[in-house]
């Protein structure tokens, strides 16, 4: 039984379907990467999985259980946490308040102090900045806070929507390293949505390529990297 299993999912807005018949899975303790260019449907797919924009067709199972139409606010309780594109921080609140809101659901709330220490050990800068407003942090710090807040909810599945967006290459590396670290220590499943193909594949156990709303390729990262189509379309060689 996979941690997350999406089967023949169609998603879109109103009468418009954007993602067609997509299937993917994420196993426990594994980093799966969902790749695709602008407008491929990556965010639509992710928002459909967590229920922000409920799917038009298909099934979504988490640990074998159908989770469609559970309501987005139930996802954190179930153990699915999304770090949305653009980070979705509470800009007018302090770093600490943001982290506390991460452990809003009852089960993670019981582990709050422990999770907080873990987040600080992962990103020491957040401890220094804890009273500062989230909106006043630098881009890299904001991304760390967004990931930190997600970790505060003690997820079993962490979904990250383009965490490298707008970050300097060195920070992208820091962010990716922290994701690998979290997976290793917490043994959780990660679904990483990226445009940054090479770096994403370097940390992945499994890869998917989405194009114009359809899954065109899937497989082991080294196979994807060697694929002629991927090379031409995404790696520029």
């Amino acid at each position: 039984m996979s941690l997350l299993e999406v089967e023949s999912l169609c998603a879109g807005y109103g009468d418009l379907t954007i993602v067609w018949d997509v299937s993917l899975k994420v196993e426990e303790g594994e980093i799966a990467v969902l790749l695709g260019g602008n407008g491929a449907g990556k965010t639509t797919l992710i928002e459909s999985i967590v229920g922000i924009n409920p799917p038009q067709k298909g099934s979504i199972r988490f640990k074998g259980e159908e989770i469609q139409r559970r309501g987005v606010h139930r996802m954190a309780e179930l153990g699915i946490t999304l770090v949305p594109q653009g980070r979705g921080l509470f800009g007018s609140m302090s770093v600490l308040e943001n982290l506390y809101l991460g452990s809003y659901a009852p089960i993670p709330r019981a582990k709050r102090a422990e999770s907080l220490e873990y987040v600080y050990s992962l990103f020491p800068i957040l401890r220094e900045r804890k009273t500062q407003k989230a909106g006043s942090l630098s881009g890299g710090e904001q991304q760390m806070l967004a990931i930190g807040r997600a970790i505060m909810s003690d997820p079993q599945l962490l979904i990250l929507d383009e965490p490298s967006l707008g970050l300097a290459p060195r920070l992208v590396e820091t962010v990716f390293r922290s994701i690998v670290e979290i997976r290793r220590q917490k043994k959780i499943g990660v679904l990483l949505v990226e445009q940054n193909l090479r770096q994403a594949l370097s940390v992945a156990d499994r890869g998917y390529v989405l194009e114009s709303g359809r899954m065109v390729l899937e497989g082991r990262p080294e196979d994807l990297e060697a694929n002629e189509h991927v090379k031409r379309a995404y790696l520029g060689c």
């Binding site: 606010h73 946490t81 509470f90 007018s92 609140m93 809101l101 659901a105």
Partner: protein, 340 residues
């Protein structure tokens, strides 16, 4: 420790001084018209504190507060005129009805975000006004209804002078300020702050969006209805245009906006500035053209948005607002993003 103690003593001293000042004010103010304005200030401040719960704390711009204001007003008037009950009973019933409407309407339209929510509230208030105009036998239709003065009568809340009305108004104002304070430091207040910042993110950390927003809408409706009910009990005249026009909704919103949203004193400051100003513009410009006060309002709004977007209370305190980073609805609203 000593510091916080003197601070607390200073505060309670200030509070006592304030209460004394407020209760002695009508003895000093001999002019009936001035007292009337003070009463109006209080009622519109109460309505505006109500707006601030949904529009300020939750960040959902309601332009339909007139609907709740009228429900309170018509309930108080009808209870007295039709069913011969004390208008105070009617006021309570009105608050209950407004809460029910907010629950029903909110469950539908709070799913919408940003301007879509705002437009639906505007439409809802229009519907309420049309209904009030239509059911003539109860509401009196467009001519409205006058509550006749029958001499001092405690249960009818009719008094010979304006002083008792003033004390009622101030008591309701205190209730509204207390409510605003409680919301700001409650768990609900924290949830609303998260929602105001980013609805999707708030939902993904596990906050039940609809539940929190509907709660805020209900509290907001109750306060606004309460203001409407006692406004009519004092004014003794009611018609659909004076209680349920978009002008009323705008006025309630503007008071909070000018004074300062999400602030314990903001709506009061807004009312202290805007209500006397309305009186002045009505007195001096109304004969030139109807709606001249709206022109003045608009000019004030433009000035405030340009130079004090967080409200005047924060200019006085010279402290940035907690919500300064996200005053505008973010670009991440469900309806506005088409990115994939």
């Amino acid at each position: 420790m000593a510091d916080s103690q003197t601070e607390a003593r200073k505060r309670s001293g200030l509070a006592v001084l304030l209460i004394m000042l407020v209760s002695l004010l009508p003895l000093v103010v001999q002019h009936g018209y001035v007292l009337r304005i003070l009463i109006m200030i209080s009622y519109f401040a109460v309505a505006s504190y109500g707006w601030d719960v949904i529009g300020g704390y939750a960040g959902q711009l309601s332009l339909g507060q007139a609907a709740f204001f009228s429900i309170g007003a018509y309930a108080a008037a009808s209870a007295y005129l039709i069913w011969k009950l004390s208008p105070a009973v009617g006021a309570l019933a009105g608050v209950g009805l407004a809460a029910l409407l907010a629950l029903g309407l909110g469950s539908l339209v709070l799913r919408l975000r940003g301007p879509y929510f705002t437009l639906s509230t505007l439409a809802a208030a229009e519907v309420v006004r049309i209904l009030l105009l239509h059911f003539k036998s109860i509401t009196g239709g467009a001519e409205g209804r006058v509550i006749p003065y029958t001499g001092f009568n405690l249960s009818a809340l009719q008094f010979a002078t304006d002083r008792p009305y003033y004390y009622i108004a101030v008591a309701l104002l205190a209730l509204a300020i207390w409510t605003s304070y409680q919301v700001s430091r409650s768990r609900l207040g924290f949830q609303l702050a998260a929602i105001r910042n980013d609805e999707d993110a708030a939902e993904s950390v596990g906050i039940n969006l609809m539940s929190a927003k509907v709660k805020a809408f209900v509290i907001s409706a109750c306060l606004t209805a309460l203001a409407g009910a006692f406004y009519v009990i004092y004014d003794r005249y009611i018609d659909p245009y004076s209680t349920c026009s978009s002008e009323v909704s705008v006025k309630i919103l503007l008071i909070a906006l000018v004074g300062g949203r999400r602030s314990i004193w903001g709506p009061l400051l807004g009312a202290v500035l805007l209500i006397p100003l309305t009186e002045l513009t009505n007195a001096y410009f109304a004969s030139i053209r109807a709606g001249a006060s709206m022109v003045v309002y608009s000019i004030i709004l433009i000035i405030v948005v340009l130079y004090a977007p967080d409200g005047l209370i924060r200019v006085l305190r010279r402290r940035p607002s907690r919500g300064a980073v996200t005053l505008q609805p973010g670009p991440k609203g469900r309806n506005s993003h088409a990115s994939a």
